[in-house]
């Protein structure tokens, strides 16, 4: 039957053509969410905490408008049900006061950037089943001592998700797709927005105390504790990486040995067959699947080594960044130490 209106599409047609979602370009957070995350992570530091993000998914922008923290959980079965109840209860209550109760991801705190673990990936995949686009916000409360707002928005890259779902983490697959360890996570830029009311309030309230707003601790020149901890973590990660490398070497050696064994067996079989042919008997098959030397050895997954590599790269970047920022300050040393001076200056003016 001819379609009377060629431009109209039938319902079935529309339902079948999935609209390609525009790629996520930016995460827009409200100041309220930033403050809540900072407060929660800081209160419980050095313990690592998590919480849920609520908001809206609009085009290529993911808006995060509210969040709530998760209570510290013990690894206990009955507490699991409690946790789910808590979540439902919070979402219901927030709905009553007109907060968007649409989950868009979760946030977690970290210590010096050691967050690339398999659990993170599993959580991502769990969330991804229900929500089309979700994001994880990582906050590092220890870096606020250096005066840096260490907020990062992470997302698993699509290529990684395909590979992981198909459990295709072997060397050849990775080589084919030209996939390296930098491709696992994608970092998304963060924008902070505030309603006009709040910005008016903050501008009005800030004028009272310009002096106490001066954050001297950022001008600290002793970087040693931070660098020391970074180096310690880096060394631990190097140990992990070398263990992973050894696993690979072991695998390759086994593979090689197995192949030489196979060759030897094949030679023997061929010789036997020659003898048999000479004797006029049936030749034996050249393959014997029941022989244990033909059992294929499973290749170890490269996922762990990738994650560890990611962590190491992270630490290196942090150290690099920190030290290069510090270098110009060294020249200021000749003028005296700013920190002690500035603290007392602030006191005397106040």
């Amino acid at each position: 039957m001819a379609n009377p209106n060629p431009t109209a599409r039938s319902f079935l047609q529309v339902a079948s053509t999935e609209e390609a979602a525009p790629p996520l370009r930016v995460v827009q957070m409200e100041g309220l969410v930033v403050l809540k995350i900072i407060k929660h992570c800081k209160e419980f530091s050095p313990a690592l905490v998590t919480g849920q993000l609520l908001g809206l998914d609009v085009g290529s922008v993911l808006e995060v408008t509210n969040c709530f923290p998760f209570p510290m959980r013990e690894e206990n079965e009955e507490i699991e049900a409690d946790g789910a109840n808590y979540q439902l209860e919070m979402m219901r209550c927030l709905r009553e006061v007109n907060v968007d109760n649409n989950t868009v991801g979760w946030y977690q705190s970290t210590l010096l950037g050691c967050f690339q673990t398999v659990e993170l990936i599993e959580t991502f995949l769990n969330y991804q089943e229900n929500i089309r686009r979700c994001v994880c916000i990582i906050y590092d409360p220890s870096r606020s001592d250096q005066g840096v707002l260490a907020l990062k928005a992470l997302k698993l890259s699509d290529s990684f998700m395909d590979l992981y779902r198909n459990n295709n983490f072997t060397g050849e697959q990775l080589r084919e797709r030209n996939f390296s360890w930098v491709d696992i996570f994608e970092e998304i830029p963060i924008k902070v927005s505030n309603s006009a009311l709040i910005s008016a309030f903050m501008t009005g309230l800030e004028a009272d105390t310009p002096v106490t707003q001066c954050d001297y601790d950022r001008l600290q020149l002793s970087a040693n504790p931070f660098l020391k901890r970074n180096m310690e973590f880096l060394i631990e990660c190097m140990d992990d990486l070398s263990i992973e490398q050894q696993k690979f070497q072991f695998y390759y050696r086994n593979l090689y040995r197995q192949q030489t064994q196979q060759q030897a067996w094949l030679q023997k079989r061929r010789a036997e067959n020659m003898a048999r042919k000479a004797a006029g008997e049936e030749p034996l098959p050249e393959e014997d699947p029941l022989n244990p030397i033909f059992k294929p050895i499973p290749e170890p997954s490269r996922l762990d080594s990738f994650l560890v590599t990611n962590q190491i790269a992270n630490y290196c970047n942090q150290i690099n960044g920190y030290v290069t920022d510090l270098l110009p300050w060294q020249s200021l040393y000749h003028a005296g130490t700013p920190t002690v001076f500035s603290k007392q200056l602030g006191d005397c003016i106040y």
Binding site: I190, L219, D325, L345
Partner: protein
Amino acid sequence: MAASERTVLQFTSAPSSTSLSARVHPLVIFNICDCYVRRPDQAERVIGTLLGSILPDGTVDIRNSYAVPHNESSDQVALDIDYHHNMLLSHQKVNPKEVIVGWYSTGLGVTGGSALIHEFYSREVSNPIHLTVDTGFRNGEATTKAYVSVNLSLEDSQLAAQFQEVPLDLRMVEAERVGFDILKTTMVDKLPSDLEGMEASMQRLLALIVDVYKYVDDVVEGHAAPDNNIGRIISETVASLPKLSPPDFDKLVNDNLQDHLLLLYLSSITRTQLTIAEKLNTAAQLL
């Protein structure tokens, strides 16, 4: 009637109210403003509970808050108590140290309905703080005030509750101070990087130093009255710079510099090693 008898209006002032002061974290203000923006259309103002703790010196530290749905008409106020309790339980699961310290409402001043709500809250906690946040900007600026209620009684009968204002302090934790600049504007395109943050701090420090300089100049030239205390503090500050002989100082600085350069070298070489190792791992071809 006994004309000689005189009934005197008594102020039973709570002994702690004279030294009571309140401290508010900016998160609370953000929460209140956000709830106000999201309020249902028929509500004129937003009411909610304040959570926090009482510090050992008597100051009330207000750290968190949540809105409670309510219905208000000219003579009646109805508050959703179940909701209030549910939210309180949920919040306490995360942070058991935060307890109710009072309640807030938007709008300037205290109305009749507020007295009833205050009575409800005083049943939950002794001496609750009432915080008003003026979202209407009626005075042309943002005003937040904190009140404590004091009972006025005539002999034995309760007459009224007087709301006495209490000094309020807006405090910010170090981490929040770092992000404060981005909280002031309506839209920030990217989070400030380390260097920009440091630059801002340096500029603030410079402004402080310029102020002190100007003050000292004024005093010397006789424009401003000299204050001995300030002068003493300034001289202490200047004297607090450590005195090291130049060669020692140079050695200190150079050692530090070399350590840092070594770290830089180590981390760069680690990164290079990572790329090579990864190429070897995935590019390995057997047979």
